[in-house]
């Protein structure tokens, strides 16, 4: 392993740059997509005048956020305060390293890819905590407390819903999981494991703090939740990382349940991107349709429904495998 380090290092650095670019690009596309979809659901055009059909809107937003005054609340631990958005962003970039975008498009093909993603997405909670804590704002603190209990609780059904796939394929390697599935939709795991997919999707929504589970930043209750005090770049980073985690969740979902880059006729990254974006569109669609759930309901859904269902699903899968 040690001999391999320089080569791997080079690959990793190139990969890091590529993933950074990918994350940035995705965020821009997603921001635009989200606003456009929201607009069309509301029967309005959404961003329209800034650039043709408003395609320059995300750039304007991003540059504006960069140009905003950087601001640290009085009495806050400024080092930790600015560390929080970075802690939120950094693991997201790492997660992209192990995602197989296509048959030959994977930066690191590791045997523990899925564990890596699960481990590093968990770090996001910490960022939330620090942000809420150092903001010197009660709303932030409440938002952080909500965020922590939410992500800690939903990590369990998430793991449980992923486990059947691991049992079926016998590996943590994302590439192998993808290649384990066939090219045609009926050969994907979503057909054999529909319940796991639904549970995974709900948990992904909750883990990425998307509506209807966007309690840590519940606008009408906690103004802006844990990032109430963040302006400019800090807010932009949180925003970016939120979208990055959304993409990661969609990617994992696509690989585990929808066959990843496998698709009819010719396999490739195009199928992967299409699946990812379909999942993202459904996430956006859900966001603009439903009201927010309440905090105790959120936990109830997790403990009373998702976890028992996930365990049941797991047991049935085991039984089927054993037979």
């Amino acid at each position: 392993m040690i001999e391999a380090i320089p080569i791997q290092l080079v690959i990793m650095l190139v990969g890091l740059a590529a993933t950074m670019a990918f994350v940035g690009l995705n965020a821009i596309v997603l921001v635009y997509l989200e606003r456009k979809v929201a607009g069309f659901i509301h029967r309005r055009p959404g961003p329209y005048e800034v650039g043709p059909h408003g395609i320059l809107q995300p750039f304007a937003d991003g540059l504006k956020l960069v140009g905003k005054q950087i601001f640290t609340p009085k009495g806050a631990d400024s080092f930790l305060y600015w560390l929080a958005p970075m802690i939120s962003m950094a693991p997201a970039v790492v997660c992209f390293l192990v995602i197989p975008f296509g048959p030959h498009l994977q930066i690191i093909n590791t045997n523990v890819g899925l564990v890596l993603i699960l481990a590093f997405t968990g770090v996001n909670v910490l960022a939330l905590c620090i942000a809420g804590w150092t903001s010197q704002n009660k709303y932030s603190l409440l938002g952080a407390a909500r965020g922590v209990s939410q992500s800690v609780a939903y990590e369990i059904p998430l793991l449980l819903s992923v486990l059947p796939i691991i049992f079926l394929t016998g590996t943590f390697n994302l590439f192998d999981i993808a290649t384990n599935q066939g090219s045609w939709p009926w050969q994907w795991f979503v057909v054999t494991q529909p319940l796991a997919f639904i549970i995974f999707f709900i948990c992904a929504l909750a883990e990425t703090n998307r509506a209807p589970f966007d309690l840590p930043e519940a606008e009408s209750e906690l103004t802006a939740g844990f990032h109430t005090e963040y302006s400019g770049m800090g807010f932009a980073l949180f925003f970016l990382s939120e979208y990055a985690y959304m993409v990661i969740a969609a990617c994992v979902g696509a690989i585990l349940f929808l066959g990843g880059f496998k698709g009819p006729i010719v396999d490739g990254w195009w199928w992967f991107l299409a699946k990812v974006y379909i999942l993202l569109l459904i996430m956006i669609w859900i966001r603009w349709t439903f009201p927010r759930v309440r905090f105790d309901q959120l936990l109830n859904i997790c403990w009373k429904w998702l976890i028992p269902l996930a365990i049941l699903n797991l047991l049935i899968t085991l039984l089927v495998i054993a037979l």
């Binding site: 040690i2 380090i5 320089p6 631990d77 564990v115 968990g122 909670v125 910490l126 905590c129």
Partner: protein
């Protein structure tokens, strides 16, 4: 030549991680703010996870991040938030010199004994460990060592139940 370069790089990486662990450790015990101390702990945890990676055990390294960073430190963070253990409140202020001396003595004692022991009885070690498959680890847990594995599960369950009971009782009294 190439081999030498990569070996040097390996040493640099190793000592980089050790430096991270040392720095994290000192931040953990010395910083006035508990949150910063926790950040120091997390730094140490990442350093140790990195060492696990270097020892060709990425699975354990990731587990370290998953369990320690994702769960344990978040729990501690919760404890900090919930117990009003404000920095500038409970943790600041002068600490008596006697206490510091005791602390240093108490910590140096094992260092001297264990350190000398480690240095004297250092067994020959492999420079390049080989990676174990997760599958092997699982088999290992389920076949010869099923008892400790079950014991951990039991421990975790009991701990969770205990924690719930402890806090629940308080609510009932109110």
């Amino acid at each position: 030549m190439d081999n030498l370069a990569s070996e040097n790089l390996a040493w640099i990486v190793l000592f980089g991680h050790i430096a991270i662990i040392v720095a994290g450790g000192f931040i953990t015990v010395l910083s006035e703010s508990l949150v910063r101390a926790l950040m120091g702990l997390i730094l140490t945890l990442f350093g140790v996870a990195g060492l696990f990676f270097l020892m060709a055990a990425p699975f354990i390294g990731l587990m370290q991040i998953l369990i320690y960073v994702g769960a344990v430190s978040v729990l501690i963070f919760f404890a900090i938030m919930l117990t009003n253990a404000w920095p500038g409140g409970d943790e600041s202020g002068n600490i008596s010199g006697k206490k510091v001396i005791f602390a240093i003595l108490a910590s140096i004692a094992p260092a001297v004994f264990l350190g000398s022991a480690a240095l004297r009885t250092a067994p020959p070690s492999i420079f390049v460990p080989e990676e174990t498959e997760v599958r092997e680890l699982g088999r290992f847990f389920l076949e010869p060592y099923i008892l400790p594995f079950e014991l951990i599960s039991l421990l975790l369950t009991v701990a969770m139940a205990g924690a719930v009971i402890l806090v629940f009782e308080r609510r009932k009294k109110k």
